[in-house]
């Protein structure tokens, strides 16, 4: 009896693996085109908007515009690639109070649900993980297709203190606001027409 259960279990796992492989195969050609993609953020320092961006990130995407609900979208962002354009600030970003790059070299996003809203608009719900802190986020995404390239754009707000970005003296929100706006433009290849 126990052997039987094990066999079923193994079979089930194999089946799941097979299905996963099929999904992967179907979307194997879906790729992020990093050179045409941007992930940026705007923080406010004493009321002054300061723009920054990540230079290095990657995505694993299995997205079907016709069946958005079965889509999976995952991102990894190299926290060490953050820049705000000022050398002295950039030198601080990898340190412990900010992104703590030695301990948390990557931030990640993993979708849990994708909802189609029509007219190329989607709502992606998922978990955003930065510095080991995981928070639920809802990201509105607009897709535009131009030839073989699909461009996904969107923006969402996050609370930096929820991820412990800017600790100690820098936790003071009168200096650096808690609200940070994240903006992205992601060029993807291999997304089906919609």
């Amino acid at each position: 009896m126990q052997e039987m259960t094990m066999k079923f279990s193994t079979l089930f796992k194999l089946g799941a693996l097979g299905a996963a492989l099929l999904v992967t195969a179907a979307h194997a050609d879906q790729k992020l085109l990093p050179a045409q993609s941007e992930i940026g953020f705007v923080s406010k320092q004493m009321g002054v908007p300061v723009e920054g961006r990540f230079k290095k990130f990657d995505a694993q995407i299995a997205f079907d515009p016709k069946k958005p609900e079965v889509s999976k979208i995952a991102f990894t962002i190299d926290t060490g690639s953050a820049t705000v354009g000022a050398p002295e600030s950039d030198a601080e970003l990898p340190k412990a109070p900010w992104f703590n790059v030695p301990k948390f070299p990557q931030a990640s996003f993993q979708s849990s649900a994708v909802k189609g809203l029509g007219a190329g608009k989607f709502e992606v719900t998922g978990k955003l993980s930065i510095k080991g802190n995981v928070r639920d986020v809802v990201v509105p995404v607009t897709l535009t297709q131009n030839g073989a390239t699909t461009v996904a754009t969107g923006a969402f707000g996050l609370k930096r203190l929820g991820f412990k970005i800017g600790e100690g003296d820098w936790a003071d929100t009168s200096m650096v606001a808690d609200d940070v706006q994240v903006k992205f433009k992601l060029a993807l290849s291999g997304i089906a027409k919609f």
Partner: protein, 187 residues
């Protein structure tokens, strides 16, 4: 005849002179101090205060120039004019003219540097001011030394101005300083 009214500066001119004198010493000191601070909230705070103060000084300087252009300052007393050699008269006019020019140049160069460096000025953290130069790293590096150079030039000229005023007061004892002092009682 009340000679005081014609030989002393008006209360408005005095107020603008002394408010700006104190403000300029303060902002110059903060500027020199903050430039060497390590990256910290304290540094960020001082930089923003410095920018806000600079904008206020610029506005006060505009008011002061308008007042100066619409109100004739008291003429130098005859005995002072007669006692001054030509080079001193020339230096007196040059110092005042250059100081006035720098009241505008120093803050405007600072503002331009801030914009070029990508940090727009938001007055008191609430009022965004326009950028009259684009955010451009190369341009920022080009402008950066000039805020310091012009500020130190102003400090040097202000030191000359103070030295000359003290010389008139303590060496020449000609009462010239009383013209800018609100509680002057001797002429």
């Amino acid at each position: 005849m009340n000679s005081t009214s014609t030989t002393r500066y008006s209360p408005v001119a005095m107020a603008l002179h002394w408010i700006l004198a104190i403000a300029l010493v303060a902002i110059f000191s903060v500027g020199v101090y903050m430039a060497d601070l390590p990256f910290s909230p304290q540094r960020l705070k001082l930089y923003n205060w410095h920018k806000w103060a600079g904008v206020c000084i610029l506005i006060l300087s505009v008011l002061r120039l308008l007042w100066r252009l619409t109100h004739t300052p008291p003429a130098l007393p005859g005995q002072v004019v007669n006692a001054m050699p030509g080079w001193q008269t020339a230096a007196y006019h040059a110092t005042h003219g250059l100081l006035y020019a720098l009241f505008f140049i120093v803050p405007l160069v600072g503002w331009a540097y801030s914009s070029a460096a990508g940090f727009s000025i938001v007055l008191f953290g609430v009022l965004p001011l326009p950028d009259f130069v684009p955010a451009d790293k190369a341009l920022a590096e080009l402008i950066k030394p000039w805020h310091e150079i012009t500020a130190f030039a102003m400090a040097g000229l202000a030191a000359m101005h103070v030295a000359a005023a003290l010389k008139h007061h303590f060496v020449d004892r000609d009462g010239l300083l009383q013209r800018m002092l609100p509680t002057a009682n001797g002429q």
